[in-house]
Symmetry: C3
Subunit: 308 residues, 3 copies
Amino acid sequence: MDSLKSIQHIISIKDFNRQQIVDILELAIRFENLRDDRLKGCVLGTLFFEPSTRTRLSFEAAMLQLGGKVLGFADASVSSAKKGESLADGIRVSSSYVDILVLRHPLDGAARLASEHSSVPVINGGDGANQHPTQTFLDLYTITKSHPELLKGEPLKVAMLGDLRYGRTVHSLIRALTHFNVSFRLISPESLKLPDTYIDFLDRENIEYDACQKIDDALEDVDVLYATRIQEERFPDPVEYNRVKKAYHLTPDTLKGVREGFQLLHPLPRIQEISPKVDALPQAAYFGQASNGVPVRKALLSLLLGKI
Amino acid sequence: MDSLKSIQHIISIKDFNRQQIVDILELAIRFENLRDDRLKGCVLGTLFFEPSTRTRLSFEAAMLQLGGKVLGFADASVSSAKKGESLADGIRVSSSYVDILVLRHPLDGAARLASEHSSVPVINGGDGANQHPTQTFLDLYTITKSHPELLKGEPLKVAMLGDLRYGRTVHSLIRALTHFNVSFRLISPESLKLPDTYIDFLDRENIEYDACQKIDDALEDVDVLYATRIQEERFPDPVEYNRVKKAYHLTPDTLKGVREGFQLLHPLPRIQEISPKVDALPQAAYFGQASNGVPVRKALLSLLLGKI
Amino acid sequence: MDSLKSIQHIISIKDFNRQQIVDILELAIRFENLRDDRLKGCVLGTLFFEPSTRTRLSFEAAMLQLGGKVLGFADASVSSAKKGESLADGIRVSSSYVDILVLRHPLDGAARLASEHSSVPVINGGDGANQHPTQTFLDLYTITKSHPELLKGEPLKVAMLGDLRYGRTVHSLIRALTHFNVSFRLISPESLKLPDTYIDFLDRENIEYDACQKIDDALEDVDVLYATRIQEERFPDPVEYNRVKKAYHLTPDTLKGVREGFQLLHPLPRIQEISPKVDALPQAAYFGQASNGVPVRKALLSLLLGKI
């Protein structure tokens, strides 16, 4: 775990090299179902300028299950920001009350800025369309729990499905996976395809990928399918939205003939992308993925607080 | 306490038989003013899709006073439900973070649905116009603390006052009390009288009751008066509302000549139904009733967490 | 600390005599950076009918760092008040759930009223334009940490800057400081000058003061400058607001030539009153001031809970 010694904040998945990612995933295993008092006396501040149940509650669960305590807000409306206070000032003050901060903020770059003004470690709980690194760690953790061979250099084929244009989780996960022996299939409607900057990145890194618009026949050589929510507001034309919504609706039929060990992931909330009939199938990994947020966040909190 | 072994969730007062109710009330006595660490390491999730100070805060107090911890939300606006997530999905995820859940939800049946998707025990903290079983337990607890003879089969006369049509607490309490030797007086304006389905229930169970519209002379043979809030929005005509509001306003005069041991209960908040001048009278039991929420909820949390 | 034995609530700075103020400031020193379990088993209720990040979070931090626990609400919208419940009723119920209450409320006098209906100690976390005594204690604490000679009767010159008319913190601090050997300089625009009632008070108490409208040349004989936020909504005319905003903008230049040991305080949030360029100067005491909220509130919570 020597690679982790220099880590002071968790701001972007881009800040982590291969060894650090591997070490964090291995650290998280130790925290599976662990309850102890290692964070007794430590206080986490949860500053959620934008609501997020899943991220906030799993950070709080992680802290409380390790004996720590939590304070903060779930909603910008109760913060001083609405009086016009700068984020920098808010962070300077809040960080004097707690031992570690998790920040969720609507603006790109907010977490980095916060880390520069905080007297305690800062974890990015999502900043605008930019980064959400703990989500990426739990996505990776979910994949490598079922596919541990990935960490040993074995190849894995990952399909990304849905909104590849705006999906923050997709962008971060692609970037993190390129540290490993991964090839991609990019499945999206034309209007939501992966931005050129990420395509250029894949080309530069010599990562194999192909792209298509239909799910049919696109899953048989795939190990992991990462589906995302398609938001109506991304479509100027409701007719087009309805066509896409229908075409990207996953059912038990869609998953017929997939590989042994195939995993269907989704960052949740899912709206209509996955039929509830899929939930009972062995391939449905998305609820386990959500619950993996707890051990991963326990590991990260303990790491930054010097308690591993 | 053998009768309680099979209880996994607290969803509806209808799920409890006489013996279970008696055992829960006796269990609650043990938790009066008790503070210990029996729930150390346990985390309660409070999912309040509708605000409720009293219910939420007393559950939190119960948990914290027994050494447990709490996370959750007080308000649907900070939950993923507003992104369109189904309750079932929300519960599957949240229940993976905690050891027990309390749910408050605007829709009838939400708690039952939640219990079917939760991996941990669920307590109904009120679902729409349907059920609020822990309120009923604390109402019963308040009555039997002053009238312990009720549990031994002695008769008790209970008057229900106010909004008997929409009052969720009234419906549940009537149902619970019919396990005992109780007769009812139903005092309400014509437009807010007890629905036929409950009248039929009383007839079927051979429970004695009478009904009237005026308070005058209606209290002298009564042991317990359960008053409820009359909400303006139930009346199409403001003149009618004002007439009723005035007719159902309880003062020290109203309580003159009541029986020894008479108790005035109210689920609170009271608006104009009870004059503050009543607060100091020995019959005023409503603040004690509210504080009884703590021992009752301590008992229920400990029961479901296997810590009694 | 005998002077503190009679203190049951913290409602107004006016309730404290010189000896009590001195003893509380000395008590707070003991709580600097202290973490222990002295408040284990105690529960603080935070009833914030108006949002306030800084006050709420620092009370919570104080409680949690001493082993206590917290419940409550950050926002009136989730309280029963919106159903029309009186504050007195809300307090009677809430106080039966916890060991101590902090109340923030938009109405003047709310905290005093609350203390009359509470079964546990009440701390005023700000009631309307009236009082915010724990802010005053942390302001005094910040001043006396740098100027301990004040407590021994040595003279100190304090300038008050900005909105002296509506500023609750200014009024309370002036009143508290008059227990010591202090002289004042009142710097404000004509429309925001200190109300006559406070001027009369200073005259009656034989406190030296002068008043002016400009900052230039007004700081050279001053030990402490207490700056406040100037709110646009106080000005009928936006042109006048912009003129004042510009005239009261503090920069490193403004602080040239101030005395040795000069402190610049501000209750925060600051908007445009102090340039961020000032933050790095040794005179900038406002962030330390905010963090002093924790030891001061630890001392007050421990005092009222009988744990000093």
